[in-house]
């Protein structure tokens, strides 16, 4: 199997338009979450993470398309190697795509179709290979990264661009509100007083390659799994996520001791965070430093796996454990070692996990290339 390297990345979010801007704000403890009081999104005020700097908007493209285009282009411009447009593969990840173009009428706008969205973005960049569109709830981003890494390590492709994005829409806010899943304020992953999620919008891009051109980070592809328990409630035992984690570690012969920190899903719902604590306990990772980035960016759905992976990698390169914003006191079934304050630590290996509606789980590992 070939090694897989990260050669470029970008984040478009309320915290900035570049990876560096975003990481620097996260390191300073800045959150993109604020109160949103706008009928366009919901009849009453709620807390979410909205991009207010609209410099990324591209004419004749939807909000989400603009985010994808801006993010992918910036990642390409800063990539450590040129993009081979004939042979590179584009894998997109989104849960709802251009759902803001859906109205109550019977005709569905053509750009709402996710296949059309992926073809549009692919055509914009002139890539010759057919694109892929992953839409697998909140694990989409990690799944897309794993698929990309697998394509490279098996030699099928030597360059893959992964980009995940979702926007805040009334569709999504009203839906999570009907599930009584929205927090009344800033979300508090793993905390005793946690009361739900904040929705966020973002687009994040990772470029991966089989060639080590000035890259310092490797991607070790992980596994997905299904709880086979309930379509929206997490597993009561955590064994689905545990299976993803243990298979991923086993496949790369990495022991739990080697994991320097875990960036987990940590949505701040009562059930998700409890489930994760059970899974980490089963995996003997309950003493490993763990954080969630949901209180910096909100839950960015299809972008989550990608944006959170990038920040995890940046913190690894920076040898800094980033505090899990919103956390004060352990409140999960099993106590976890939640990172309470930023601290310096030599970081070589990071485990990233994600879980989602439909009972799905995924894990991926990032490692410094020594």
């Amino acid at each position: 199997m070939k090694d897989v390297y990260i050669t470029g990345s970008n984040i478009v979010s309320p915290l900035g338009m570049t990876t560096q801007e975003n990481y620097s704000k996260v390191k300073k403890g800045v959150s993109g979450i604020d109160q949103i009081d706008d009928r366009h999104y919901y009849p009453s005020a709620f807390y979410g993470s909205l991009i207010t700097d609209n410099q990324f908007l591209v004419q004749e493209h939807s909000r989400l398309e603009s985010m994808f285009i801006h993010s992918i282009q910036t990642a390409i411009d800063e990539n450590t190697e040129p993009i081979d447009k004939e042979n590179c593969l584009l894998i997109l990840s989104t849960t709802k795509g251009n759902i803001d173009l859906l109205d109550e009428g019977d005709e569905i706008h053509k750009d709402v179709f996710l296949g059309t969205l992926s073809e549009k973005i692919n055509a914009h960049f002139g890539f010759k290979k057919n694109p892929m569109m992953v839409s697998n709830a909140c694990i989409s981003g990690v799944m897309a990264i794993n698929m990309a890494a697998r394509y490279i390590e098996t030699g099928k492709y030597s360059q893959v661009i992964v980009s995940g994005g979702d926007i805040i829409t009334e569709f999504v806010v009203s839906g999570f509100s009907s599930l009584m899943a929205l927090s009344a304020g800033h979300c508090r992953p793993y905390d005793k007083e946690r009361d739900g999620i904040n929705i966020g919008e973002a687009c994040a891009t990772i470029i991966m390659s089989g060639a080590n051109t000035n890259s310092s980070v490797k991607v070790l592809a992980g596994f997905t799994s299904n709880d086979a328990n309930h379509i929206s409630g997490p597993s009561r035992t955590g064994d689905g996520l545990y299976n993803s984690i243990s298979k991923s570690l086993e496949d790369h012969k990495i022991s739990t001791r080697e994991i320097d920190f875990i960036n987990a899903h940590g949505t701040a719902t009562a059930f998700n965070d409890d489930m994760e604590s059970k899974a980490f306990k089963l995996a003997e990772l309950d003493h490993t430093p763990v954080n969630s980035f949901k209180s910096y960016f909100g839950h960015t759905l299809g972008a989550a796996g990608v944006i959170e992976s990038i920040i995890s990698v940046e913190s690894m390169k920076d040898n800094c454990l980033i505090k899990s914003l919103g956390f004060k006191q352990n409140g999960t079934t099993f106590d976890l070692n939640v990172i309470g304050e930023n601290c310096n630590k030599n970081v070589t290996t990071v485990l990233k996990t994600a879980s989602g509606f439909g009972g799905c789980n995924a894990a991926v590992i990032f490692q410094k290339d020594e």
Binding site: S178, L179, M180, H230, I231, S232, G233
Partner: protein, 87 residues
């Protein structure tokens, strides 16, 4: 409306709200557990019952955890409605 009449009405309403198409009104025992062993309802059903309470009876439940007791059985649900109904 007395409790028994309300229970009958609720049977019809929950069958519709929760898509319990293969269950008839006669099969629902008002004292059986709605969740767990009885009708086997789940967390999404609990949320739909909260929607039903607000839409049909004007009762708003802010904390879903309160639902456990209110929705223990059809009878406890009917009693709660009678105690709290606003129009």
């Amino acid at each position: 409306m007395n409790t028994e009449e309300l229970i009958e009405q609720l049977k019809g309403e929950i069958i519709e709200q929760l898509n319990l198409e293969d269950i008839s009104k006669e099969e629902i025992n008002p004292d059986d557990e709605l969740f767990g062993a009885g009708l086997g309802l789940d967390s999404i059903d609990a949320l739909e019952l909260i929607v039903l309470l607000e839409r049909s009876y004007g009762i708003k439940i802010e904390d879903p955890k309160k639902g456990r007791d209110i929705f223990k059985s059809l009878r406890s649900m009917a009693e709660y409605i009678q105690e709290n109904q606003k129009d």
